[in-house]
Amino acid sequence: MSAGWTREQMAARAAQDIPDGSYVNLGIGIPELVAKFVPEGREFIYHTENGMLGMGPPPSEDERDLDLMNAGKKYVTALPGAAYFHHADSFSMIRGGHIDVCVLGTMQVAANGDIANWSTGEPGAIPAVGGAMDLVQGVKNIYVITQHTTKTGEPKLVERCSYPLTGLGVVSRIYTDLAVVDVTARGFRVIELAPGVTFEEVERKTGAPIMPAE
């Protein structure tokens, strides 16, 4: 069994698909790594839900401003050309279709593009949704970065999500440690395999029918 792509490689692979000049919102976790792998000659402008465009990398200890954080509540910086705005304007950018790409982590993605990444639905668990449902409905292209399976080996790419949905039919592309997978009108289709990974391995670890690359 191959190791497939690392977290960094998954992020780098996703970055390849984002055009120059895109307005990008990165989810917490592996998606955040995309910012480290912007291809040569391209520039992305980062949006954070809590009211900023032009977000830059984390600050050094002494340039830290306690009032300058991202939606993950981590300290960040502002690049030249940045802008601050309030939450209604920030989500107008999201809901109004002004953000080009959102890269999200997930618990499950279904073959019809449904995504479940906000709640396990366990009784007693405290539900917390944040901006996830706004992002999946509003952003033009929803990309997902995720391990192909859970830690216990369960597929995360499934026929139907068993967890409560975040949004219906919204995901267009998935970057896993094993492959790049498109959500097509006829279901999952591999468009690229990680080095050393076979289509059969991907198929075995996917919880829904999946088509090979053409």
């Binding site: 000049g21 307005y23 520039e43 402008i45 949006h47 900023m52 465009l53 032009g54 502002a78 690049l79 030249p80 050309g81 940045a82 802008a83 601050y84 705005f85 209604a88 304007d89 989500f91 107008s92 950018m93 999201i94 809901r95 109004g96 279709g97 002004h98 953000i99 509003g138």
Partner: protein, 236 residues
Amino acid sequence: MIDKRCPSVAEAVADIPDGATVMVGGFGASGSPIELIHALIDHGARDLTVINNNTGNGEVGLAALIGNGQVCKMICSFPRSSQSKVFPELYKQGRIELELVPQGTLAERIRAAGAGIPAFYTPTTVGTVLAEGKEVREFDGRPYVMEPWLQADFALVKCEMADPVGNLTYNKTARNFSPLMCMAARTTIVQARKLVPAGGIDPEHVVTPGIFVNRIVEVTDPVHEDLLIAAGRSYP
């Protein structure tokens, strides 16, 4: 670096097709993007639906665009003024259509388009002829009218300062509808009195974030509608 600058007003409006819906910033003369409008007259696109609070004054700017026969429909709140002759004449001849929208509803419908809100409820026009044919619904015992968003293909906007990323500031009450129109149009074209480098506008002072702007043309010494009219000018 991302750079939305465009070399001329002519190039900035060159792809506006016949039949387009075009939002035009400004409230009366204040904030009217005269150079962009005149470029649109030179360009010649016809059958335009234009969204503006008014219908222009004298025979320059928006009034000239209408007078040149390029506009088939105006969506506005106040289509007449002491100095507006062009629209009233065409309207009385039945040669131009009018959708009259109260000013606050016009602003909110434009914002809604930019914010991805397809419809909302407002108390404005309840019980009046302007609510005829519209859905009325009660919330907490008070009636409200449902209004849809108002989208556009293009917005033509005048601003004070712009950076290459598209961040904008405005000058005083010339701000009016322009930040909303930037949000609502598929392609937003801006004429800026002053272009500054990225970082030249304090991020706290940005009124229109660059994400809402597609093209920026520097027009360093813009003409003002009031002065053109006072000088008896017409266009073309």
